[in-house]
């Protein structure tokens, strides 16, 4: 026997939950589905896995197709395989979540997909089980960000501590003490203060910081405890 007989084949797809942060709110990028079924309805960006493509490759390809971006933080989230989740044909979808700097994205809007950013609490009805996927992605992002220095991926190359704090506050719907926050963040040693200040968002101006890339790679697995009592969440 050199084939697997009698096993039913099915379609395999990838869907991407793309997070961005506009300085105030955490958002995800949705598209208007361009083909039947559910043409015109809001959907995650996705696509079928090609014949000679690995899952990660497929996700990277799809992310690039929508955003034009490469070298993005991308992580496999979960495989979804309910029979009937796609009404047309049995399809397993492997969901990925991506964190992008929303400003890099905005520069190049040229798409057939009519993509739009939605605040997390204003997400429209989505096709299939995409709402489930988004929920799972939100949860995983919160889980992971409580322990790993991951949220930098949502900010520009240079960012300020107030920006970073706002992002944490948005993600955890919590307000944080800025003295404790900066103490914890700076104690990781991951940030390098720049000489320039951001004078756009305040009169006085806040120092820009950059990630220490070397330490970032090494320390990625380190656990932060940015959110006081984050272990009591949920």
């Amino acid at each position: 026997m050199t084939t697997y007989n009698n096993q039913s084949k099915l379609l395999a797809a990838v869907d991407c939950i793309i997070f961005g942060f506009d300085g105030l709110h955490l958002k995800i990028l949705l598209i208007k589905r361009g083909f039947e079924p559910a043409l015109g309805q809001w959907s995650l960006m996705g696509g079928f896995i090609k014949k000679n493509e690995d899952l990660d490759e497929a996700a990277t390809r799809i992310l690039k197709k929508l955003t034009g971006l490469e070298g993005i933080y991308l992580e496999q989230l979960h495989a979804f395989g309910q029979p009937g989740r796609d009404p047309i044909d049995r399809t397993i979808s492997v969901a990925y979540f991506a964190l992008i700097d929303i400003h890099q994205y905005e520069k190049q809007l040229s798409n057939d997909y009519h993509p739009e950013w939605f605040n997390l609490n204003e997400i429209p009805k989505l096709i299939f089980d995409h709402t489930l996927m988004v929920e799972a992605a939100k949860e995983k992002l919160r889980y992971k960000a409580a322990m790993h220095p991951i949220l930098f991926e949502l900010l520009p190359n240079k960012f300020t501590l107030p920006q970073l704090q706002t992002l944490y506050e948005e993600i955890y719907s919590a307000s944080l003490d800025k003295r404790n926050f900066s103490r914890k963040i700076l104690s990781t040693g991951l940030l390098i203060r720049q000489k320039e200040k951001d004078k756009i968002n305040s009169r006085r101006g806040a120092y820009y910081y950059k990630l220490d890339k070397g330490k970032y790679e090494k320390k990625f697995q380190s656990f932060l405890n940015i959110i006081p009592n984050s272990h009591k969440l949920r």
Copy 2:
């Protein structure tokens, strides 16, 4: 258009990494593959996903087929989809990991699969990408157990603190201070001390404990910090 034309279909499978603990060592259960290709080689227990089956269902079915057990801790680990990972036909496999009480298993060995338990550091060469899967499962188990009270799943209904400590020590290749260990574990309030003692493993005997199931469900998300400096691991 009411079908997805021109998309290539493929096979979808589930593979299970089954962990057990014999009181001394953490082990995984492997089988001798019963069909070509790679007949007779060591492999994870797995199977194709059926026509009307969800992924979790498939994993549950496969776990039951091998161990006879139901109601087992089972969690999706990762989807593996390298083209060519199965030399016969393009197959995506969704890996699950399971934690079982090895003693419940031992009671009923009656299998065509010739299953055997292997210590984690004595795992033989496995087919396809199963070695990768096992590595990922080990890592995830260590990650998760550092923060969630999950290891009880590997122990019998009644267990002693020394047993539990040995399990933690085995998983993290660390030796722990038993005073600090018991303080931390008991402070979760998850354990209920029984009146009987385990007189098998020591002369003096150690109290048995049972899980407080109610609190366990509620507190599952709680973060423990059993391993001092677990955040410095890896």
